[in-house]
Symmetry: C2
Subunit: 137 residues, 2 copies
DNA sequence: TATGAAATGCAATAGTC
DNA sequence: GACTATTGCATTTCATA
C-alpha cells in the first residue's frame, strides 16, 4: 500500500518539495519516471495533500504568533468553526477533546490586530492566550 | 523591500509550491525568469524558509494529534529545548510566555506511543494534554 | 511497477535595455 | 529589475519487460 520507498521519497520532499524527480530517484535508486509515478499515486491517495512554502511570518510583517485555546460557552460550534476556517489570521485550528474546545495558532501584525481578533472570538466563547516567544520547530 | 508582486508570488507558491515559474509569471504578469529571480531573492532574505509537502499523518499511520502544554518545574529549559528540537514525534514546538512553558504539537501512531512520549516529557515538567478530534485547518 | 528512448517544454544563462 | 534569445536538461509519454 505504501512502502519503504514511498516513505523515503516523502522524506526528501519534506526537506525540499522542489527537488527534481531525477534527483530523488538517485537517492532512492529509481528513475525519475518511477518517482513521478509514485508521487502521483501518493497524491491520488491523499497521503500528499499538497506542496507549500514555509514562510517567515515575522519577515512578512507578522511578528506575533499566538497560541489560543477557546472554551465555548454556547454549543454553537458550527459558527465558530466557520469563523476559524475562513479567518486569514488563523494558521492552524483544531477541534479538541474536553470541554468543547478549539485550539488555534494565530499570526498577527500587531497587538492591536490580535486584540481585535480576540474580541471577535469572545462572541463565541472564552479563551486562554499564550504568546510565542521562540519558535523551536 | 518586499512588494505586492512578491506577496502575490508567495500566495501562489503557498497553494502549490511546485507551480512552474512560467505559470506563476502568467498570473503575476512577469516572465518565468523574473519570477525565478524574485524567488531566489526571497530565499536569500529568509522570507522563504523552504519548500515542503503537506502530508496526511493519519494516512501515514499517525492517527493521533496531541496538543501539549508543558510547565517546567526546574529551570532546565535547555535540556527540554533540545529534546523537543530532536524528537521525531514533535511536529511543532514553541517557547511561550507565562510560567516558563512550552507548547507542542505531537503526532503519534498509538496511545501507547503517546504515553511513552509524555513519560519522557515528565522528566522535565508537567503537562496539559489535548487531543485533536478534528483538523479544521 | 519498473525501465529506456524519444518528444516536449521548462529553466538557466547571457546579453541588452 | 525585467525582457529576449539560446542552450541544456528534466519531465512526459510510450513501448516494453
Amino acid at each position: 500500500m505504501i512502502d519503504r520507498t514511498d516513505r523515503e521519497i516523502l522524506h526528501w520532499l519534506k526537506q525540499d518539495a522542489r527537488m527534481q524527480w531525477k534527483e530523488i530517484g538517485e537517492k532512492v535508486h529509481l528513475t525519475g519516471q518511477a518517482v513521478a509515478a509514485r508521487i502521483r499515486r501518493l497524491e491520488e491517495m491523499g497521503v500528499i495533500e499538497g506542496f507549500t512554502v514555509k514562510l517567515d511570518q515575522a519577515k512578512l510583517g507578522h511578528p506575533i504568533t499566538a497560541l489560543v485555546t477557546v472554551f465555548m460557552k454556547s454549543s454553537n460550534h458550527r459558527a465558530l468553526w466557520q469563523f476559524l476556517a475562513d479567518h486569514p489570521m488563523v494558521e492552524e485550528a483544531y477541534r479538541i477533546s474536553g470541554e468543547g474546545c478549539f485550539w488555534l495558532k494565530v499570526s498577527a501584525s500587531s497587538q492591536k490586530e490580535l486584540n481585535h481578533f480576540l474580541d471577535d472570538v469572545l462572541r463565541y466563547g472564552n479563551y486562554r492566550l499564550n504568546l510565542s516567544i521562540e519558535k523551536i520547530r
